[in-house]
Symmetry: C2
Subunit: 182 residues, 2 copies
């Protein structure tokens, strides 16, 4: 059973579990991650199992998944035999990892599938039309990916400045528009 979680942290953990499950991430893994992120000190598997009331083996599988996404890192605490896990201290690093992993797992295979279908010779008018849409999709995804990768290059400090820009952020893009309209 859940032990030791304050209502505040509980709420946040539950919310991210819920959101995770809408994004193809197992609810319990989402909860585990929120817990780790919200905790200053690294947690061990038993801490997580106890705090969330999951079986030890479920936690083990969740950790394995989070490690495979590179969202947490393993560390050993002095004088502790057990393994501890923690999330990056900077939320922007977390977001960048998420974006990067999603790209590798979903975007790249999609682009590859589309490319393979685009080199085929259309057999009829319908395939010609379908290919045209695929071409547009491919271009769009490629472009959005390019943009995203540029933004990912920003470090937290730069991002902080951007943040301060606030609602005037549109100006950056207006500027770009001017660039485009030359």
């Amino acid at each position: 059973m859940t032990k030791n979680l304050t209502p505040m942290i509980q709420s946040c953990v539950m919310h991210f579990g819920e959101m995770g499950s809408r994004w193809g991430i197992n609810r319990t893994v989402g909860q585990m991650y929120a817990l780790i992120v919200l905790n200053k000190e690294p947690l061990c598997a038993d801490d997580i199992a106890e705090a969330l009331g999951f079986s030890r083996s479920n936690v083990s599988m969740g950790i394995k998944e989070l490690l495979s996404w590179e969202l947490i890192k393993l560390q050993h605490l002095p004088g502790e035999r057990r393994e501890f896990y923690s999330a990056p201290g900077d939320v922007w690093d977390i977001a960048k990892t998420l974006i990067e992993q999603r790209r590798k797992r979903e975007i790249d295979p999609t682009l590859s599938t589309l490319r393979n279908l685009l080199i085929e010779v259309p057999a009829n008018t319908e395939e010609e039309y379908a290919q045209q849409r695929m071409r547009e999709m491919h271009e769009l995804i490629e472009m959005l990916t390019l943009w995203t990768s540029e933004i990912q290059r920003l470090d937290s400090a730069k991002l902080g400045k951007l943040l301060k820009l606030g609602s005037s952020i549109g100006k950056v893009l207006d500027l770009k528009d001017k660039l485009l309209n030359r």
Copy 2:
């Protein structure tokens, strides 16, 4: 569409079904949408059921979902009693709708949850730390949303120009950097 799917279209439909299911969208709904997008002419429910081998009722539910996401629109064809459905002709319109709907369904509730937790008074050091992370998350999400909404304002034509910019797209952001470093 009373005939079978060509391998090309079949592959694309299957791929997007697969991808959809990774993004919290039911596989069959993903397939249905790919089919509609790739087809020049609007399709009726029976077309879809036949092309994909789903039950008529499953198609009905899928259509309901796609309509609720505003990803397809209903239309009547002259001399046809049945209802037909089609996707926007412009893939960027589709992407914008997806982004917008995701924002409404997931981002906004998340921001709201975070805000509610942030106005609470932290009960101890741990909650203080947790709130700090929540604050950072809130700021980051808000900023990314702002950026996204600016980009969403672009129409297809502008996007086309951006596309032509290709890999030199980084320059737009370099420019922004200069702006920030003043």
